[in-house]
Amino acid sequence: MRVGLFVTCLVDLMRPSIGFAAIKLLEQGGCEVYVPATQTCCGQPGYNSGDRAAAKGLALKVLDEFEDCDYLVAPSGSCSGTIKTHYPDLLADEPGLADRLARLTAKTYELTDFLVSVLKLGAVPGTFQGTVTYHDSCSSLREMGVKQQPRELLAMMPGVRVAEMAECETCCGFGGTFSVKFGEISSRLADNKCRNVEESGAEVLALGDLGCMLNIEGRLHRRGNSTVRVMHVAEVLAGIERA
């Protein structure tokens, strides 16, 4: 099957290794991975800031770019959530799009959900050994229904022990532009998250969204914590950290 990888703008710019980790996992599952070269951003920043016009053009672009794929998969609950659950609202008044859009949203998946629910992956290539705690991102959990999927995949790694932290479902405080508009509140929420991560005793914090990653990692570093490594769950599963 031909799977279109929506890399996401943050992975493209900030952590390319996650894109390669996603490709490795998808190929392991037997997919032909197609990476549209023209892809950029799903439009979420504009959409969530109330600027629909700024978001619309990007949504139409994603629709064009991924229409020919059997699936659209993104290593992010937030971007896949925007496409799957918010494009129908964003593009509601665009004439003649309903069918095309319904086909796109039906085949849009968050990466770990796709690996478990569609590919039914039985093994992963990662070899990490140690304790991992998992942060549920808001959009993965509450928009895309991702909860057990990353944990099932981590459980396939014999060297990994998952230590759940307290309040793993609580927002880390990122919230897109919220993190800059209300930096102080955002940092406090991130601080609470860091404390829970530290108290879990895990060496690695795994998660599935770049926003949370930059936020928690940045706060951990500001707190002076250099022992916990923050990784996208795909990096852990694929055994790829940096590219």
Binding site: D12, P16, F20, T40, G43, T177, L189, E217, H221
Partner: protein, 469 residues
């Protein structure tokens, strides 16, 4: 109430630095979230009940005119008088007119958030009458120079037991007590005198039941029972949206209200008051008035935010909101804090008077998940953000930023070039240890966090390289 929502950021800053408040908020969060989680497991079909509750509230709103008229007809038939307040000022005017008509000197009140909208207590005192709040939380705030409530269910939950001990000793002139039971007993003894000497009782209304013309009151202290039945006159004030078609519907909503609010199966007291005291009846006021308040509600009803009026004021959205949990309710600057407050406040006091509120959420949707009537709060906050953009209420730099981003992101070659440069610039800014400590245009980020620098090449570049090899 005075609107201070434009000062949200400064007020939140103060609250984040208030060690005492932070301690109280920590206790609050642990208690309410855990209690609700346990309580909803008592229902065989919580999600089904939630859907039924959503449907009841939506049906009431979609046929509000019909149900309001039905309520007025039935309440009037029971001997009550139904009055309509278009504005907050009308609420105060009507209450004072009723007080004058019945020669009232002293008023007691059970909790009414709607009366906070119009600062009713101040209007009563300005008219030379006395007023005593009987909800324990509201009473504490009243004797603390009318401090504003910080939560719609527990208005004084920002205060610690010690603060209340000090306050009681000071205001009551009694020995300082530290035991919660003793403090409650002291409040009870003080309030009992007021119940007996008041001429008029003012209550809120959790639900107005159209088919019976009744008001339903939900309390834990029983203060509403005394407030509405001991004085000669009872006035129930609530928003027009609080109409529920039938008593059967109330039963469904009651299965969710206390469970969502405090994690109780049901509140300690539920009063259902129907009409004036009839001949031979022992309980009830001789004169009963309903004040049904608009004060911005028809505007919400006619907008794309109608779902917000389904709210049954349980407070679950704020209890579960990570922002509220960390700053408390005062930062929001008006009557209703938290997610529902950030939707209602701009609609009731004006979009331009509460600009930060719709943005003061990470859109994490924990509020939407716990709302017993399924109000899609993040969607409504986003809709308000759109209204701000449409009305030109956002800074030009923000709008220009999103437009520029969108324009570039629709031009892949230009975008690739821009990100190629950005990746290198960020890498350089990261210095030796690979962490950026100061980001221009994003001081809000770097004031509390660093940012791990990217490796210097974009995925796009690296992927193209890997394909060439």
């Amino acid at each position: 109430m005075h609107v201070a929502s434009m000062h949200f950021v400064r007020r939140a800053h103060d609250k984040l630095g208030d060690a005492g408040l932070q301690k109280n908020l920590g206790t609050f969060k642990t208690r309410f979230v855990g209690a609700r989680a346990r309580a909803i497991t008592e229902l065989d079909d919580f999600e089904g009940t939630r859907e039924a509750a959503r449907e009841i509230r939506q049906r009431a709103l979609d046929n509000l005119d019909t149900y309001l008229e039905m309520f007025e007809k039935n309440a009037t038939a029971n001997g009550a008088t139904v009055l309509w307040a278009e504005t907050p000022a009308d609420v105060n005017r009507l209450v004072l007119a009723i007080a004058a008509k019945h020669s009232v000197r002293k008023i007691i009140k059970s909790k009414s958030m709607v009366s906070e909208e119009s600062a009713l207590d101040h209007a009563i005192e300005a008219a030379g009458l006395s007023v005593v709040e009987t909800d324990l939380g509201e009473y504490i705030l009243q004797i603390n120079d009318y401090e504003a409530p910080s939560h719609i269910v527990g208005p004084a939950l920002h205060k610690s037991k010690e603060e209340v001990s000090d306050l009681f000793a000071k205001r009551h002139g009694t020995a300082r007590k530290t035991d919660i039971g003793e403090l409650c007993m002291e409040a009870r003894q003080v309030l009992r005198q007021h119940y007996l000497s008041a001429d008029m009782g003012v209550s809120g209304g959790n639900f107005f039941v159209a088919e019976t013309g009744s008001v339903v009151l939900v309390t834990n202290e029983g203060n509403a029972t005394l407030t509405t039945t001991l004085p000669r006159v009872h006035v129930a004030i609530s928003g027009i949206e609080k109409i529920v078609p039938t008593m059967e519907d109330v039963a469904t909503l009651m299965r969710l209200l206390a469970r969502s609010a405090t994690g109780q199966s049901i509140s300690n007291y539920v009063d259902i008051l129907t009409g004036v005291r009839g001949a031979g009846e022992f309980h009830g006021a001789g004169h009963m008035y309903f004040i049904l308040v608009d004060a911005g509600r028809t505007g919400v009803l006619d907008s794309d935010l109608r779902a917000a009026l389904r709210c049954i004021r349980c407070g679950a959205c704020m209890n579960h909101c990570p922002v509220y949990q960390n700053i408390g309710g005062h930062a929001y600057g008006w009557v209703y804090p938290g997610p529902i407050g950030s939707v209602l406040t701009p609609m009731y006091v004006g979009l331009e008077n509460a600009l930060p509120l719709p943005h003061a959420s990470t859109l994490c949707n924990q509020c939407g998940v716990v709302c017993p009537v399924k109000i899609p709060l993040p969607d409504l906050l986003r809709t308000l953000r759109e209204k701000q953009v449409e009305r030109g209420l956002r800074p030009w730099s923000e709008r220009a930023g999103f437009r520029l981003w969108s324009w570039v992101a629709q031009r892949p070659a230009l975008y690739a070039l821009g990100t190629k440069i950005a990746a290198r610039a960020l890498r350089w800014m990261g210095g030796a240890d690979g962490y950026i400590r100061k980001l221009p245009l994003a001081e809000g980020w770097t004031s509390g966090r660093d940012m791990r620098a990217p490796p210097g090449k974009t995925f796009r570049e690296l992927y193209a390289q890997s394909k060439r090899n």
